[in-house]
Symmetry: C2
C-alpha cells in the first residue's frame, strides 16, 4: 500500500512545482516514490527537466516518473475487454473495433487514471504515489468516483435485480464497465458481496483513510487563490478526502501586490527589454497567428485590457485544420506545435487515425478516397500531408 | 446562431481574466453576449465582481453571465429522462430515483456543458457566447465530443444493426443517451439520417466553422506557458477547432524574470510586510490546518523548496470529513470553506443527500440511523450537524 498524495489549488499557484518537490522530498526520505502526471503538455517535462512516458522510469534514486496517456490506457483496456468478450459471448460484437482507433471522451481521463493509480498502489512497488492532475475539479471528480459509483450501484441494484432487462443488459454493460473500471460486471456482481462492490468499497476506504490518501491545498497570497483553496477544502470533504495542510506559495506575487508595484515593474521590465525580446519569441513560435499584447489590469479599470484584445470576428483568417486536395489525392492536416515524432498514423479500421497530443482523430475521408490505403505521409511546415 | 469563443492556455496565464475582458469587449461592440463559466469556485465571481447563478443574469448592457452547475443540469436532464421513460416503457425502471440524489461522475461536467452551450446557441438570444472552462484538456475533450461520438456511432452502427442485442438494448440506452446528450436514441436513430447523427453532424460543423466557434491561445512570456499554448494549438486542430490568435499576457511575470529580479523583489516585499500580513491572513482562513510557507525556487536548486514542505505523513492529524455519534444520534460533517447558504440538504430517496460545491454526497448511514428522517440540521464552526 502506498501513500497517495495530491495537491489542490487554483491554476497558476504552483501546484505542479509543489507536486514535483513533494515527490523529491519523499524520495530523499528513503521512500520509493512514483510521480504520476496527467499533464501530456510539455509544461510538466520542462519543469521536471525530464520527459516522461507511459511506463515508469527512474529519475533519481528512489524517484520514478510516469505520464498517464489516456489514449494508450484506453487501448490497453479495450484489448482486455475484447478478450473477455470473446471468452464469454458466442458472437463477439466488438472484435472488429481496434483499440488504436478509440477516441477519448470526457470522463475517460479520470476513470482510467484512477484505475492506474489503484494498480500502481496494488503492485506494492511504491511507498508513495504523488499525483499531479489536470484541473482540480477533475481530481475531485476522480477521487469521488468510488463513493458516487457505489451509490449508483446500490441505488440501481434493486431496479436491476427486479427486471428482466437487467439480465439482458449484462453482456453489453460488461465490456463498458470493464473498459472504464477494469471490473467484471456479472450477475453475481450485482448482488451484495461481489467484486465490483468490493473494489468500490476498497476505493472508498482508501480515500477516507488519511494514511493512504492525502490532499494538500496550494495557494498564493492572492484573495482569489485563497478563496479557491478554501472552496476545494470543503469540496474535498464532500468526497470524503482529508486535507492535510496548506502550502503557501509566496514566490508568486498576489495580484494586489503586482498592481501596487506596477511602477517599479516598468523599470524592471525595461532592463529585460521586454517588448522586443518576449514579443519576438512569441511571434516566431506562433507564426502565422496574430499576437495581441495585453497590459496589466490595475484595479477595476478593464478598458486598457479590452482595447488590447484582438477583433474576435477575424478568427477565421488562419490555416484550416484539414484541407483535401482531390486532384492530388492528398489530405493536409494543420498540426502546429507537434512535429513528426509526436504524430502517429494508423489505419486499422476503415478510417485513418491520427494520434497526437493524447487525442485520436479518425479522419472521415471523402468518398473518392474512402477505403484507400495511405501511400505516403510527410510532416512539413506544421502540416501532416497524407497521400493516397 | 452565436459566435462561441473560448481560451486555451496553461493555468495561471490569465485565461479567465481574458475571457471576461473578451465578453465585455463584444458587449461594448453592441453584441448581446453570454459569459458562461464552468468554475463553481468563488474565484470567478471575485474577478468578475458579481456572483453568477445557473440562470443567465444581466451584468451590464448587453452582457449576461451564467454559471454551469453540473449537479443542477444533471437533475434537470434526469427529470426529462424519467418523463421519456414513463412515456415509452410499460414498466418504468427509474421512476424511484430522484434527480436531486444523482452524484456527478467524471465526464458529466463536459457533456452537460456542451449541451447547455448548444441550447443557448440554438435559443438565438445571444450574438456571442464566451465560455470559460475548467482546465483546458477538458475544454478540448468537450469540443471533441461531436466528432468522437459520431465516430463511435458510425463504427458501432453496423455492429448494432446486425445484432438482436442492439434492439434489446435501446430501451435502456435511451435514458442514458438522453440524460447525457439530450438526444433520443430510437431504432431509427441508429440509421443514417436521424436525430442523433444530425445533432452530432451539426455540432461537428459548428466546431469546424471558425465563424461559429473560435479559440484563442493565452500565454505569458514564460517558456513553459509558451510550450503549453503551442501544445494546445496542435491539439485544437486535432478536434477540428480553429485557433484564431494568441493573447500574450505580459502582466504576469515569466519565471525567468522573477528569478532574475528576486533580489529586487525582496526589497519590494519588505514594503508590504509580507511575512506578517499574508501569512496571518492565510493562517486564520485555514485554521486548524498547518501552513507551510514555501520560498521562491531559483534555477535548478529544489532544496529550499523541498525543505519548506510539510511532513506529509502527518496528514491524518486534522478533523475527519464525517463523524458519527450514535449515542447523540448525530452525524457531523466537516465542511470548511462553505457556510449555511452554500449547503443544501435533501432526503428524497432512502439516503440523505448533502449538496455543496457542485457536488452531491449521499451519506451512507449506519444501520441504527438508516431510514430515519433528519430532525434537525445546523451549521456550526465549519461543521454541518445532522440530528436524527
Amino acid at each position: 500500500m502506498s501513500l497517495i498524495l495530491t495537491f489542490l489549488g487554483k491554476g497558476g499557484t504552483g501546484r505542479t512545482t509543489v507536486a514535483i518537490a513533494a515527490a523529491k522530498k519523499l524520495a530523499l526520505q528513503g521512500k520509493k516514490v512514483l510521480l504520476a502526471t496527467q499533464d501530456t503538455s510539455p509544461a510538466f517535462g520542462l519543469l521536471l527537466g525530464a520527459t516522461l512516458s507511459s511506463e515508469p522510469q527512474e529519475l533519481s534514486p528512489n524517484l520514478y516518473g510516469v505520464q498517464f496517456q489516456t489514449s494508450l490506457l484506453l487501448e490497453r483496456s479495450w484489448e482486455d475487454v475484447k478478450n473477455l468478450e470473446a471468452q464469454y459471448l458466442r458472437m463477439p460484437l466488438i472484435k472488429e473495433v481496434y483499440g488504436q482507433e478509440l477516441g477519448v471522451l470526457p470522463g475517460m481521463d479520470s476513470a482510467l487514471a484512477l484505475n492506474e493509480i489503484r494498480e500502481y498502489d496494488k503492485s506494492g512497488k511504491y511507498d508513495a504515489i504523488v499525483y499531479d492532475g489536470i484541473g482540480d475539479q477533475n481530481t475531485l471528480r476522480m477521487l469521488g468516483m468510488p463513493e458516487i459509483l457505489s451509490w449508483y450501484l446500490r441505488r440501481f441494484q434493486t431496479i436491476f435485480s427486479n427486471s428482466d432487462l437487467g439480465k439482458t443488459l449484462l453482456p453489453f454493460l460488461q465490456p463498458i464497465a470493464s473498459a472504464v473500471l477494469n471490473i467484471s460486471l456479472t450477475p453475481e456482481n450485482l448482488s451484495q458481496s461481489n467484486k465490483a462492490t468490493n473494489l468500490l468499497e476498497e476505493g472508498k476506504k482508501a480515500i477516507a483513510d488519511p494514511h493512504r490518501v492525502a490532499v494538500y491545498l496550494v495557494t498564493t497570497g492572492d484573495p482569489s487563490s485563497i478563496a479557491t483553496a478554501k472552496y476545494f477544502w470543503g469540496s474535498a470533504q464532500q468526497v470524503g478526502l482529508t486535507v492535510g495542510g496548506v502550502i503557501l506559495n509566496q514566490a508568486i506575487l498576489p495580484d494586489t501586490v503586482v498592481a501596487e508595484i506596477a511602477e517599479n515593474l516598468e523599470q524592471v521590465y525595461e532592463k529585460f527589454d521586454r517588448e522586443s525580446a518576449i514579443t519576438n519569441t512569441v511571434t516566431s513560435e506562433f507564426a502565422p497567428l496574430k499576437i495581441s499584447n495585453i497590459p496589466n489590469r490595475v484595479g477595476e479599470d478593464w478598458q486598457p485590457l479590452i482595447d488590447a484584445l484582438p477583433d474576435f470576428r477575424q478568427a477565421a483568417m488562419v490555416p484550416k485544420p484539414m484541407e483535401i486536395d482531390l486532384a492530388a489525392k492528398q489530405v493536409k492536416l494543420f498540426l502546429p506545435g507537434f512535429d513528426k515524432k509526436h504524430v502517429k498514423l494508423t489505419q486499422h479500421g476503415p478510417e485513418v487515425t491520427v494520434e497526437a497530443g493524447d487525442q485520436r482523430h479518425n479522419i472521415e475521408l471523402p468518398p473518392q478516397l474512402s477505403g484507400q490505403s495511405v501511400r505516403g505521409a510527410k510532416f512539413q511546415n506544421s502540416y501532416l500531408i497524407l497521400s493516397f
